[in-house]
Subunit: 336 residues, 2 copies
């Protein structure tokens, strides 16, 4: 197996290098053919590497970057004003062929703006989309996109998201992925203008296994392998799901404190329920991919801890193995 | 206590009169001052009333309506083509002062179109909104609107929804309700055009306790008492939450079948978990109110069973007691 080189923006996220560096070193131990380039303030990174045990330093490189993009910085400013930010240098490594993928837990808007600017979109793709896999009933999963890269979308954008989602699902081993548009009803007359127009485009796309509209409940029921919506909707759906799951977990714990009998039941049940929570937790599903770029970029949740960041790096390794941009390019060339 | 008269569209929903009539009669027994007018095909309703035990027929009236609006009928056709539909006649009773409120489990789009046409909106309100209460952390709740009555909204509509939601929360006993706009981030620069403009309008509205933007996870965390979004987003949020809760319930049940030890834990834990499921189930929260009309209309979920429909009728009784349209009118008059 040839080496996979991943550039890590070590400065992003709510916890910065103190979380990202150890998580990255864990991955180095996990994947024998993985090489990492940690990009960020060397004065912060070096001590974290030095104190870590059992690190194969021959597969580790540190690139010094003295600028950091803040989590609330305007993307336009990050683009123009910080030529030596850790995020930018990590993406430049991908652009220059020195890394196969980039992982960052930093400012999403800035990451998208820089990635578009430095890596460019694939021919036929106007805007990259963010995609992640969500768990569905009966142990299945569904790719949901866009997750917030594009808050205003027209029908053509939604069509392109559908296409990219379908290729990504195929790459993950799904045969003829069922593609659907998220809508407020399943009848043709339902929905806003963009969704109705996108449905017309998708009905004509013979290369896609288009299923029509699905409603919110169909998403978790597993009615589609790829669910498409604009980034405003997708972001709210994803985050509200996280919030709801958290609330339900809290209520379950409270339930087992209500009485002595309940406490007894809880002694047996809570370890199992926490196991389920672990399987469904954002950390187990962390890592949204940017689709449609000439390069692989994975965004880790800003609030992800060590476990979560590791999951994001694993995602990136997988996408390098699948050569997702290459697959997308071939599919787009066949279409045009 | 004076009599409350509620007009029931007996023909709507997935189960029709066989579910709605018994549920309505249950409510008659529950509320001694409640009078009901069941509107629908008399040939179907009368036998269901005749076979019910212990019904106080002095508080029950049946109005014959020979037309039924189908669940997938276009609202425009329902409006023009069916002058004697059960839905229309039930709303006309409210318009003519013969009922204080109307409850229907029928076609949402048709109900909204007919309600707007027959009851008219309050002065200063362009479009009615659908609102419901969702459970939040620490046993709280939050009013979410719009839920799908308006798929395309401009800033002015969102502003009006915020105002109506605030009055509704006050009527429910919340002191200075915290009003927030749902968005993809909490910073001012985030969001689509409508949301940014609506934020400006709300910042200037001194009568409202406006809190700014909240993200999807803030919704269930209880960061606001009133969460405002367009109907496309609200509908998808609500339905995906239902789907997620269902999926989690299913996974929990599967969890307790995995091994003998798990089955033992399940014997103790599942009754408790099912109780929680009952508290959070759509049936316990069924009933979305149409806000902004000169009259009270409550929409029951089409798939609601007897329990769920009863909850929707209880909602209507409560709104009559609160005189929500009257409170809204006074608030709007003070503003203009």
């Amino acid at each position: 197996m040839s080496a996979t080189i991943i550039a890590i923006d070590a400065m992003g996220g709510d916890f910065g290098p103190h979380c990202i560096v150890p998580a990255s070193l864990d991955c180095l131990a996990e994947f024998p053919s993985l090489h990492l380039t940690l990009v960020g303030q060397r004065s912060l990174i070096d001590p974290l590497v030095a104190t870590a045990a059992g690190v194969d330093r021959s597969r580790l490189r540190v690139v010094d970057a003295d600028q950091v993009i803040a989590m609330d910085e305007r993307p336009a400013l990050a683009l123009r004003g910080k030529p030596r930010s850790s995020m930018r240098l990590a993406l430049e490594l991908v652009r220059d062929g020195e890394a196969h993928a980039c992982v960052s837990a930093g400012n999403t808007g800035a990451l998208m703006a820089l990635a578009r600017h430095l890596l460019k979109t694939l021919p036929g793709i106007d805007r990259p989309a963010m995609v992640t896999s969500i768990p569905t009933r009966h142990g299945g999963s569904c790719l949901l996109l866009d997750l917030g890269a594009n808050v205003d979308c027209d029908a053509q954008h939604l069509y392109q998201f559908a296409l990219m989602g379908s290729v990504a699902a195929s790459a993950m081993g799904v045969d003829r992925p069922r593609v659907a548009l998220l809508n407020v009803g399943t009848e043709e007359i339902k929905g806003n203008q963009q969704v109705k127009l996108a449905a017309k485009l998708l009905q004509q796309a013979e290369a896609l296994n288009y299923q029509g509209f699905i409603e919110g409940d169909g998403l978790f029921r597993g009615d589609a392998d790829v669910a498409v919506c604009d980034g405003f909707v997708g972001n709210l759906l994803l985050k509200s799901s996280e919030g709801l799951a958290e609330m339900l977990g809290e209520r379950v714990e409270a339930l087992f404190r209500r009485s002595l009998g309940a406490r007894l039941a809880g002694v047996l049940a809570l370890p199992l329920l926490r196991q389920l929570r672990g399987e469904l937790t954002p950390a187990a599903h962390n890592g949204a991919s940017f689709l449609g770029l000439q390069g692989i970029v994975v965004k880790s949740h800003g609030g992800a801890g060590r476990d979560g960041f590791r999951t994001a790096v694993r995602h990136a390794v997988q996408e390098v193995e699948q050569n997702l941009p290459g697959q997308l390019l071939r599919r787009l060339e066949r279409l045009h």
